[in-house]
Symmetry: D2
């Protein structure tokens, strides 16, 4: 692992999630921009001091020479460092698991996606929400035609934690997220709107045609948007509405997806992730439960407990890690991966996410609000 | 009453609602385009045959000559007839209660609003959702500053009933709603989006600056939009997102309003109308209950039963009728109306609704998607 | 109407509910124990002064002599006066609509039920919750066998309003409810537990075999139970658990019924009365919506608005009044009443309610907790 | 680990949960009654073949001689074998983590609890639901007096999976649970009612005074109860109602606890475990969220993710394992354990659970239904 040391939120999530199923073991890391602090953290995690590195360069050098070198490296550093770190790792022959967004700029994303493609290295991107079993269930059912052709998608990702100017009150997480140099051009749209966009595309299988957006910055002095409204037109005629916000008081982590098709609808709310609400045309509102017999192979492969025994965010994250393990193993063994190793978020998804954010910001900045098509969809 | 005879949905609602509190008595009517059927219906309702009219003209003629002439006339006819009927009634000196939309065209709305203003006649418009006590509670709390300055409004009104082409399968209600001549230029946006727009403005007190919209028609052969996405910019900087749909399977009557301010948020869902969800910054999600001691005078004036004894749609509608009665009485008695007679939807609100629909359609039809400002806000 | 004057809660509910559908008109009343206050109230309600009576005796005398005498008299007085008033009315040939409980003592209930039976007078009892359309829907579906033979019933009626000793702080409603002389022997069990018991029996069609109960009085100095736990054994082997409480903070009017059968279950919660939750064996949890096409004739007869347009407590109460009107008309016209005039709560249901409360109190007072069978089931 | 091999549900849960936080490593096991199958399973789990034992006796013999012997042994075998296995392990000096119920008979439970006490060995019992952070939050708030003295407790644990006679259709899990020899005298009450009883006592801190119960067997031919109703009287005057069922269609794992005190109430539903509903007297219904700043030290110690990022059943189970690790470490280091190592379910809780089940069955079998006091509370 690179980054994710003391006090890091997402680094700890990666460690918990990778441990759950026993597919991964944390054996080496460069956890901090401060080499000493990083090494101390590594040793505190029980790592071999020889593999407790001060920098990513040391890690590459140290691991490259080992017979038992790491299978993959997770990148949990701030957005603007993703590209150079990922590039160095890939060029040194390592597989990579990268936090979203793939990179902070579109140019970096295009380059990294090409590098991933040409090198043949595995590059997973942790779009967490597609780790949830009921998100796969929704995807499978739509692909099977259970709600008919999709007409409209309502997707939102509101948060409340940045409703006040906490970045000026010592909150480090908020500070880098509101700094265009570290975060990229998108504020709420880059941090969380990209999750919503990925989720909608993942579940429906739709590709974007164009979008038009309205960004707002409600907290005085903030340099990036903290609220984004986006109207989406998908190829083939479906429409979408996307809302992301960092100032929506009352929302802890309000990812909500609703998909309406010709003959039915599906709804999934991340805070009640074990349920998927299905309504057929002229029929009853019905609750599909994770773990039920009728679930798809795809959902079952991502399920550990029976209905009524809630699984959550860590299990979803663990499903991504289990999937990455399976995909890497299958490639080595030259076989098709099992269900959990399929439909994973990869470099191209990362590129699409960055391209979406760029297009949203471009649209919002254009005086005449044209409909804009991202460079990758 | 004019219109609202045999088989009419909204006419029956008007009768039920007006009866509940004993403020109104139905004594005269011209209920049908077919004079005989209208007269028969009137007699079936227990009306005096002398006041069971065949046409609106007859009603005006008949009532004008009576000492006990009706206090007001409710108009429950198709949209395109609202204007001529209302005009004739107002010019004959009657007060009017008009179904929304006020008129089918913008020109008619402008004319009718001016006529209402200049004549001094009372013209109420039945924007039902502002009859709910918890909608008033939300309005009062925002006006008091309980959530600070409003930042973003999420409002939606999805329905499912027109997901299939039922207008071609004999459904009369769907038939006139999809006929531009009878309904006006807006499909879902005119039929229900206008309710959502009114509700958002009513609760927040915000006035629109401009909007940009995307309309879609998902049912083949339908002449008007059945799904509308609108981005709103309010005066002063607040933003909004509005969705209306007639094809959103799973939604019976899904009016939902969420308002996010600097220091708190409020949420109200029409299908659970007795509750208002309030969250203060850094605080807990809390449920305000209709009928509770802490409710405002405005909410209490619209409440008949204690908490836990659900009131619903008919009570909300009855609150409008009670308010219209109080406003008319207060005018006659030359006094300020009590709380239930204040904050009523009147002709100017009706005009704003029509202007909004026009602006949405104009925006959607404009190739370059400019931000458009309605002629009345 | 007898009782239900100034400040009375339930009297006003009776007036609102009886007015909604236009079947009843309030034309006479003796509204108060204070004759002058009662007459003043009547006149304030717009009644003819000649029919604004000071006492029930005056009402009987006055109405008996009129050609247009009242069709029925609603009794909204405190429990212990129900019997003498009802008796006098029935003996004078009036039909009666009586608030629950039918009487304050078992002996009175037995006598009144016999009088009703032998006189042929109509005696309706306002067990409100069986006025809800979805309660009828549950009853119909169970009778049709949609959940198989009933195994267990979970029914509860918790309230919070008497969690503190408000009867000693001037609350008149609480004062008579905690006075054994005015209320009868059952506290929470008599006031609200009897509703729960009636609802469970009404929906399932089950008759009680025996019960065992545990009563508690949590507010110091209160003379009657304010919390009741009852285990039920129905004839045929089904079981039940009943909880009533006047001290359950957080519950406004928490009537909840859950019925589990061999092949499915049904759940209904009074605060969300427009929905009925149905789950078949090995199937999905499904929401049945009031107003949907698939609803039974019985539910539709009690429905005024489409799905998504909430109906509530007043509409349920109005359904009882509509049902009483239909039953009385059908008797006069010597025909079978329509659906709304069937399955009404009548004198025998009132007797069963009183017998249930007596058995609960007897069981709780018996040192050895035997299973007790009420005298009427 | 003893038991929990191929096809075992709960064994896998133990493995997942113990792995999550990195406190435990699975290094030895005797996973199956069939020694060969057990050894093969162990090797499949990646264990050292030398520590892949065929029987518990082999495990004891093998581990006793090692310097790196296991820290503790988890017992995941059928109920009736808990006692002999735990006894042998404790006598050989091992700490033990035992699935509930502690034993299948009261005599065994009494003996095992004494042995645990006298030996000083650690004996944890996996009452899963007290691993949830919001259950601790409820406990802390009640102990702090936030709802005043507890008046009544409503606790239930309904399941649907045994609504049909699946034990006769090849379901092994159902087969041993319905066999008195393997399961003990309590059916639903022993399998799940004991969880509900423990949860209620854990959260409120109340000790039982006495109970009276009604057991039913709804599936023909089943030898044990599949539905239990119990009325509880706690020391000090509080009351409770407990329902457990294996035939309640619509309930996946419906653990629900509601506690009503003098000045407030708390509600927790296992299927929405990240929330705790709090209502103060005369106040608003409020949602407490896991992970929020205002949570207690006890809840925070059991929390890995922020509000809105759902944790679930595995995390609760992992909290027990983390607590057991901390308690064992603290004992070795002769210090007070940190918060996660406190308030753990231990042998005495196991004994109380078995004594409760015995008392319930005794009460139900007694013809005269006396109130019965369990031998340990």
């Amino acid at each position: 692992m690179v980054g994710g040391g003391e006090g890091a939120y997402i680094g700890n999530i990666h460690r918990l999630a990778s441990r759950l199923d026993g597919h991964w073991q944390l054996v080496a890391g460069a956890f901090d921009v401060d080499p000493d602090r990083g090494r101390a953290f590594a040793i505190g995690q029980g790592l071999d001091p020889a593999r407790s590195y001060g920098t990513c360069q040391e890690l590459i050098a140290g691991e490259s020479g080992r017979a038992d070198r790491v299978d993959a490296v997770a990148i949990c550093t701030p957005n603007f460092t993703h590209y150079p770190i990922a590039k160095a790792l890939i060029e040194a022959g390592f597989d990579v698991i990268c936090e979203k967004p793939l990179t902070a700029t579109l140019a970096d994303a295009v380059a990294l996606e090409r590098l991933a493609r040409e090198s043949g290295r595995f590059v997973g991107v942790t779009y967490t929400y597609c780790g949830y079993p009921m998100v796969h269930e929704a995807r499978v059912r739509i692909a099977r035609g259970e709600i008919g052709a999709v007409r409209t998608v309502q997707v939102e990702y509101p948060l409340e934690w940045m409703a006040a100017p906490i970045e000026r009150a010592g909150n480090a997480q908020a500070a880098w997220r509101t700094d265009p140099k570290k975060n990229g051009r998108g504020g709420s749209i880059g941090d969380i709107g990209t999750h919503a966009y990925h989720l909608a595309g993942f579940v429906t299988g739709l590709k974007l045609d164009s979008l038009t957006a309205d960004l707002a910055t409600f907290v005085n002095g903030r340099a990036l948007d903290d609220n984004a409204h986006v109207m989406l037109r998908y190829q083939g005629g479906a429409r979408g509405l996307l809302w992301s916000s960092q100032v929506a008081i009352g929302n802890s982590n309000g990812v909500r997806l609703r998909v309406f098709g010709e003959t039915g609808s599906l709804q999934w709310f991340q805070e009640q992730p074990n349920e998927l609400i299905f309504t057929p045309l002229d029929g009853r509102v019905q609750t599909l439960k994770r773990g039920a017999d009728e679930m798809s192979v795809d959902a079952k492969a991502r399920t550990r407990t029976p209905p009524g025994h809630p699984e959550g965010y860590l299990e979803a994250f663990a499903n991504l890690y289990a999937g990455f393990a399976e995909a890497i193993r299958a490639r080595r063994e030259n076989r098709v991966p099992g269900p959990i190793g399929q439909n994973l978020p990869l470099a191209h998804d990362g590129l699409k996410g960055v391209a979406f954010v760029e297009a949203v910001v471009d649209s919002a900045e254009a005086a005449d609000q044209p409909w804009i098509t991202p460079v990758a969809v």
